[in-house]
């Protein structure tokens, strides 16, 4: 009996040594957070100016569906020239209804808190994060603001860009962005990449109708791949310079890739104004 006890103690001791990690096959490779280096690009990059609208919204914002209608009409009108992201605000307006998924993301909150005060009402929108007479031009998107979009689209693009996306495996994606300096730019620029998703169905508070089930949310900001304010564009800024960068990311698992788009925006690092944008299917 004593021998059995001793052996049992030793067996327990042996088990305490049994340290062996197991990695599931879908976890052999993980995103390292590393970005590729900037290189010269040989790609053909059309000198197209696009407009980027970021609409701040929320499922508890009763007037936000109206803004959706306005933006939907603009999107139909401008097609690929208009790039839209719907940022669900990091406040009670964005708080999910019932047991819906939370469409707010941390980096969307970073943007909101940067541009707006706590008392900012929804919906609101920014167009290329542009300044109007010295102040940030906050747009009330419940009415058409196509004339402002036209003004942006009528500009000669200082920088133009294209983006490409490809799936490596499962939720792992590669992204590649090519930039072209159509004019010399002396300011430091940044490149920000993020993913938006269409056709997310949630409850939505709607003016006059109350809580509406299976409301279609489009252009929803789901994931910012880079830092919230992007990565530095490594370029001399001279007219004619073409640069490219590749990076990879893992799409969040609750996204439906078929409904997702990748958006790239080039901004002025100092004042955050957006120079141009591009969008592609994931």
């Amino acid at each position: 009996m004593k021998k059995i006890k001793i052996l049992s103690i030793l067996a327990a001791l042996a088990l305490s040594f049994a340290a062996c990690d197991k990695i599931d096959s879908d976890q052999y490779v993980v995103f390292s957070g590393a970005y590729g280096t900037w290189e010269n690009s040989e790609a053909t990059i059309p000198a197209i100016q696009r407009a980027f609208v970021e609409k701040y919204t929320g499922v508890r914002c009763v007037n936000c569906p109206k803004a959706d209608e306005v933006l939907h009409a603009s999107a139909e009108k401008y097609g690929e020239s208009l790039v839209i992201a719907a940022v669900h605000a990091p406040n009670n307006f964005g708080k999910p209804l019932h047991k819906d998924p939370d469409l707010r993301i941390e980096k969307g909150g970073v943007w909101f808190n940067e541009f707006f005060s706590v008392s900012q009402g929804l919906p609101c929108a920014l167009l290329n994060r542009a300044n109007g007479s010295g102040n940030l031009d906050i747009i009330q998107p419940t009415a058409s603001f196509d004339e402002k979009i036209d003004a942006v689209l009528g500009q000669t693009p200082q920088v133009s860009l294209i983006c490409k996306s490809s799936c490596v495996k499962d939720l792992n994606y590669n992204a590649e962005v090519h930039l072209q300096f159509n004019q010399s730019v002396s300011d430091q620029l940044t490149l920000t990449l993020f993913v938006i998703e269409d056709k997310i169905y949630t409850w939505q508070d709607k003016n006059g109708e109350g809580e509406v089930e299976n409301y279609e949310q489009n252009h929803v900001l789901r994931q910012v791949i880079t830092d919230a304010w992007g990565v530095d564009v490594e370029a001399d800024g001279n007219q004619g310079t073409k640069r490219k960068v590749a990076l990879s990311y893992e799409l969040r698992s609750d996204c439906n890739a078929e409904n997702c788009h990748l958006i790239a925006i080039v901004s002025n690092k100092a004042n955050k104004q957006i120079l141009n944008a591009a969008e592609c299917k994931l």
Binding site: K3, L10, F17, D21, Y28, V29, S32
Partner: protein, 555 residues
Amino acid sequence: MKINYKHYTLLALMACAGLGANAQGIMGGHVTGNIQLDGQISSADSIIGAQDVPEKLLMNARADILYTNGDFSAGMRFEAYQNPILGFNAKYKGQGIANYFASYNGERLSVTVGNFYDQFGSGMILRAYEDRYLGLDNSLLGIDVVMRPFDGVTIKALAGKQRYYWEYGAGLVRGIDGEVNFNSIIKSMADSKFRFTMGAGFVSKYEDDQTIPYPENPSFKLNLPLNVGATAIRADLSYGNWGLQCESAFKGQDPSIMNDYIYRKGQAQMINLTYSQKGLSANIQAKYVDNMSFKSVRSESGEMLYINYIPSITKQHTYAFLSMYPYATQTTGEMGLQADLMYKFKKETLLGGKYGTDIHLNGSVITGLDTSRIGGAGTYGYTTAGFTPGELYYADASLEVAKKLNSKLKLTCTYGYQIFNPIVEGHHGDLHHNHVVVGDLTWKLNKKNVLRFEAEWMGSDSKYDSNVDDKRCGDWIMGLVEYNFTSAWFVSLSDQYAYNDGVGNYYNLSVGYTHGATRLQLGYGKQREGLLCIGGVCRQVPASNGLTFSLTTSF
């Protein structure tokens, strides 16, 4: 982690005091030790590929000192590589105390702290050992406990870090092993002809995470297991003249540079059946190894930091041409068989003659595994078709007949046939098929004077190609004359010459003197580049041309 000299200053002083006391009588204990000095002077030879040695003189030296007092012992080893002789890793350059320990060895408990060597079973999951000729030392610095709670049961537990030249590897090795001798613990089996021992062990290594980029996409990295475990179970049975040893080992996911960072688990199986009686012994061995390279640092590709050891099942030849193509164990994957038979024809029989005749027949074949590739780093790696053999790596068959011709002459004749695949050394090319014939005649002139003649021939289908630069290729002849006189001196002269399809003429002259426990040897000649393998573990030996000397002594 650098070796810290402060930790064993006291130990060193104690050992030195022991020497001063004429190696005896410190507090009732005693001091023993041994010293070895190997030196080399080599100069350039473009034909054999020897390079000039800038230092002119290379030297390896070591001294082991052991103090024993009852159940207590302590020891240290001084090593000096000023600079390392050719073939030893340049990281050995330097000198200092490379090994130190203190140990208590009681009836039921043994404890060693400091550097220690140990082994679980045949070593397939853990073998900390040292081989000075290979330049290999994977001792563990830590604590090693051996418990014998009652007769027939042995438990080992250990933890430590492995020696890495003059430092220690970052990986932490932990292990526990138990062995039960049933003939000791079951009284009714005590006198049985059936002997039965079983054992099992578990070893785990821990290593911090690091960034290994995913080759397919550098923005991704491998998700590395920080703890890698390996376990083995073994049995040793015998009944009368028969014996059977078997061991199975399994290893968890261990992506490393050795397996191209794949996530496949590893396993090794070994079985050995033996039979022996007076005048006859035979054994058959089988081995299967799949992804069993187990190192404490995943990025180490050299000869160091192996936690385990996969035993070799090919014959370790002693004659020059038979050992020209040694087989290096492929820890990433191999399978093989070996059969060995030794028989003595009795005196006064047709084949035995007046003095009897010894024959030794050995055959082995090693192949790769039949695998289907899935991918490289960051994948499962490959699948195997069970125990189906893959590409032929090595085959060896030899017959040795030794016969005493009269009271003064003994003749040993050997024929060997080998097939060697250069892929086991990391090269591509055709298989080498070699026939080797050896004649070895020993002439005992009188009690103190012995002459030995050796003649060897090797015929090979391999041809020297300067692009591959394998200087073993071609057909070779060799002659050797060795004279041992006054029981203390010996002198030998040998020459190996590639007479067809090869390059090189390797002559050597050696003189040696032995007095008591001291031996001095001088050699002058040329050394062909190649592999030196001991037990399937190999190191590359570059060509050399010049003088070698060696001094060993013990006290």
